[in-house]
Amino acid sequence: MSAPSGLDPHAGSSRTVWSPGTRRVDFGRRVLVLRRRRVAVRLDWRSVTVCSVLALAVACLAVLALMTGSYQLSPGQVVSALTGGETGLVHDIVVEWRLPRVLAALVFGAALGVSGAAFQSTMRNPLADPYIIGFSQGSYTGALIVILLVNGTYWQLAGGALIGGIATSVAVYVLAYRRGVQGFRLIVVGIGISAMLSSLNTWLILRADLDQAMAAATWGAGSLNGISSAQVAFGAACIAVLLLLAAMSSRPMRQLELGDDAAAAQGVRVSATRLWLIVLGVALTATVTAASGPIAFISLLAPQIGRRLTRTAGITLAPAALVGALLCLAADYLAQHVAPTPLPVGIITVMLGGGYLGWLLITEARRRP
């Protein structure tokens, strides 16, 4: 738990506390107001532009990903396969193999982006993520048990990861409960339980047959390999519901970022809202983890990059979702087609995340007085 060692990309991040750079306050920005019946939506002009460009980039990248692969297909074949004009292998390759993967990257990336946004604005800490309560190690343990001991199917694997993660989080919460849960105690108990599970995971991997151990480790790194359309459809359905709920809470979320007192003054029920946002964030991450293993760093990066692009003071959901989708898609493209041998997407996101932190250090931290 303590170090980003080998196969544990989340380790280390949970205990770090870092406050973001100064938030710029920007008055006098152009604002687009849409009025329809009683609903008025105020849209920031720059945000709208940025989101449109991001959406376009996501679409272009998705088409590119559909075109690329070791089986050579012409753009015409891809288009006709998508419109139902192809049968046989070409149809299978485009619609059954490539499309689910592209959609998975897109949807899961967006989910991770929103999850990170929810967490970061509740914790007001850009390095916050759901792994603080042992979810990651627990879901890995669940997955390892299914892969190595039960030899289970994809759905059992997803279930195992989910049960493992939730059971661990509950155990951490219960063990930390002693006339209420106090933050520091929660973290210490989380570290203790995570350390034990991490040892157990190492032990399970160590004792397993090499092929199975490598398959398990690939899951642990976060991989979209071999994902089927049924699996993506199920994951996307869960995520769609959660995203809808998240969009409905974006207003109290923005108020929460102004500080507890300010939010309370505006009529926000602070602790209830915070708990709700945390539950949403965990549920989104948990869905993605169950579907594809833990894809690291997107939930951390996407909201931050989104904020920088739109130059808004706080975290906004739409740019975070779009940046998340773009990052995940790009990382998977790099992992599949640019790396010398195909890699799990999570390996690329970990390295991208590290690179982003380095860039952050070199630019922003140095500018600080």
Binding site: G69, S70, Y71, Q72, G88, L89, D92, I93, E96, W97, I147, N151, G152, T153, Y154, L206, L210, D211, Q212, M214, A215, T218, N225, G226, T341, P342
Partner: protein
């Protein structure tokens, strides 16, 4: 007293197999000459595999091997167009020609790149991987070409038969089988006393073994020495799980003196393998009475899932057994 009839039966069996092999080989070569006719390639036959009865081409030309099917297929003279990853440590044990065949094939990666498989346009795909892994890619592979699959529990001889049947390599298999049976019968005769009176134990060490530990193993090549030759290695108690392997700390080396002969993994030159070397370097090993009396034998195991590699193992075992003090 049971040896004589056993040996008799073994010899009879060998003779029977040898003669049938000869007949089969003759038939096979007859078939071979007609094989090259272009018309034959459309013909199919049905083979039984772990995934059901599969219709495969009678003479497949472009075979992709996934998982453990690659080396047995190559060993019987097959030339796959695509193979999955094999560790360098395993590859380095192959005979020159087989390695060249392996390297000529397109590498599909450790996690199979399905599009690459499709782009090779195979007419047969042979798979031996864990069941759960196969379930994930079964439909996709089936869309590319007829796919035959066997689970990891398929015994190596049965796998060789199945691969030969699907891959149209039955004559090569029969030749190898005859060699093998002959070799086994010969060794049973030569070492009948050793088989009768000697208590063996087989040691090993794996790359993932904890430091400072070794294993007593009855899996790997030793299964052949145990089951086919009949050497007396420790077996799991009846009803218990197969022993497979027990991991023990180096302290336990001292306890090995209760066995008459120790076998341990060696390279082709008879030196202890790199992974096993730490055991041999301990003072406890050097002081062990079994070792000092020359009853510790390094045996080379180039693989235990195809007749060719098992035959090379038997050669090495034969050479090692011949050095036993009891045999000289």
């Amino acid at each position: 007293m049971t040896t004589t009839p056993l040996r008799g039966r073994g010899a009879a069996l060998t003779a029977a197999i040898l003669s049938s092999a000869l007949v089969l080989t003759a038939c096979g070569s007859d078939g071979d000459s007609g094989d090259n006719a272009a018309g034959r390639s459309d013909e199919t036959h049905t083979v039984k595999a772990g995934n059901g009865d599969i219709k495969v081409p009678a003479a497949p030309q472009r075979v992709v091997t996934i998982g453990n099917t690659d080396l047995p297929f190559i060993d019987m003279g097959g030339k796959p167009v695509g193979v999955t990853g094999v560790d360098e440590s395993e590859l380095s044990l192959l005979p020159e020609g087989q390695r060249a065949t392996f390297e000529k094939a397109t590498e599909l990666g450790d996690e199979v790149d399905l599009e690459k498989v499709a782009s090779l346009k195979p007419d047969l795909i042979m798979v031996q991987i864990p069941d759960a892994e196969f379930q994930k890619i079964e439909d996709q592979l089936g869309a590319i070409a007829p796919t035959v699959f066997w689970g990891l529990d398929t015994e190596w001889k049965a796998l060789a038969e199945a691969i030969a049947e699907a891959g149209n390599l039955e004559d090569a298999l029969d030749r190898q089988k005859a060699d093998y049976e002959g070799r086994v019968a010969e060794m049973k005769q030569t070492y009948s006393d050793v088989i009768e009176n000697t208590r063996f134990v087989n040691l090993d060490r794996y790359a993932n073994s904890d430091p400072g530990t070794f294993v007593i193993a009855d899996i790997g090549c030793v299964e052949i020495a145990q089951d086919d030759i009949g050497l007396n290695f420790p077996k799991a108690a009846a009803g218990a799980d197969p022993l497979a392997y027990t991991s023990l700390p180096f302290e336990q080396i001292a306890e090995l003196s209760e066995y008459d002969v120790i076998t341990y993994p060696a390279d082709a030159e008879g030196q202890p393998t790199e992974v096993f070397a730490p055991v041999v370097q301990t003072n406890t090993w050097k002081e062990l009475s079994t070792v000092q009396s020359g009853n510790a034998l390094g045996v080379f195991c180039p693989g235990n899932n195809s007749y060719g590699s098992v035959l090379r193992y038997l050669d090495s075992l034969d050479t090692a057994l011949a050095t036993l003090p009891a045999e000289q």
